[in-house]
Amino acid sequence: MNTEPENFEALQKLLKIKKHEQPPPGYFNELPRKVWMRIEQEESRGSFWNRWFQAFGLKPSVAYAFGLIICGTLIVSIGSALKTAPESTASHSLPQNESFTSVPLSPPAISKIGAFPEQEFTPTNPVTSGEPLYPGMKLRVEPVSFNP
């Protein structure tokens, strides 16, 4: 790296031209005013979200407070949801004395399904608490063949 002083004297003289370049008269008197006007304009027309994020950027405490509120709301919501959940589950629970009969679907039973006699069935849907879905209507079992 060669940084030995060379004869830049003529260049230095030429560069003095740059020092004489001046903006239009009065420019520097007006510049601060223009800056303030732009700051004012930007502040007044700043969108809601811009101001929102700026507030976060300039004041981290606002961001922390907002985060805290969101977390608090979330915790309270989850807590209240868990509190009401057992009640609603209980309303859908089965009566304790209800008896159920299960139909075994073992291969011998399936093979005899064709000879299944007509009989009345009680719906096993727990929501209806044992009440027939269609009162007075007899439900039939239709034999179904799974063989092609």
């Binding site: 560069l15 003095k16 740059k18 903006p23 601060p32 800056v35 700051i39």
Partner: protein, 206 residues
Amino acid sequence: MSAPIAELLENPTTKPGTDDLTLVRRAQSGDAAAYDELMRKYQERIYGTLYHMTSNHEDANDLTQETFIKAYRVLNTFKGDSSFYTWIYRIAINKTINFLKQRRNKVHMSLNDLDFNAEHDPDLVALVSDKTPHRDAGLSELQEKLNEAMQKLSKPHRLVVTLHDIQGLSHEEIGKIMDCNVGTVRSRLFYARQQLQAHLSNYLKH
């Protein structure tokens, strides 16, 4: 801070002579007059640097305004680790480098007029005298050629010439602003001058 700004625009009152850090602390606490004084103190140097970097008055004007607006927005982040002068210079230079990257090679010069003193500067008079090969070259032509040559330099080289040879900053100050050591500043300055000399050889021969 809208009310103080409106008040300031109607009745600009500044108290010159206060040191930068005091003004910054006052501005940080919402004193618009303090920031106004900081602006008035540094506007010429900031504008000058940006003008010499862009060779365009309109671009320099926009960038200067944006620099002061940005500095005002982030003033609370100024902790006083460096001088306000160095801090705002960094903002200005970062803005300008980004602007020049976008502008790439599309240089559109819009040069300021030379002041009255230029015609009476003995060094400049000598340049346009019979010692110059281009005897008919007036100051305006020299100004244009010099700006063209400046725009041919890389951004770091142009910046170091601007800050040292035109603005008169020391190597140390430039190092702080450009975030590099003094050796790098000296080296860049040397190569920048060499390149300028080569570009302007026709106007520098004796």
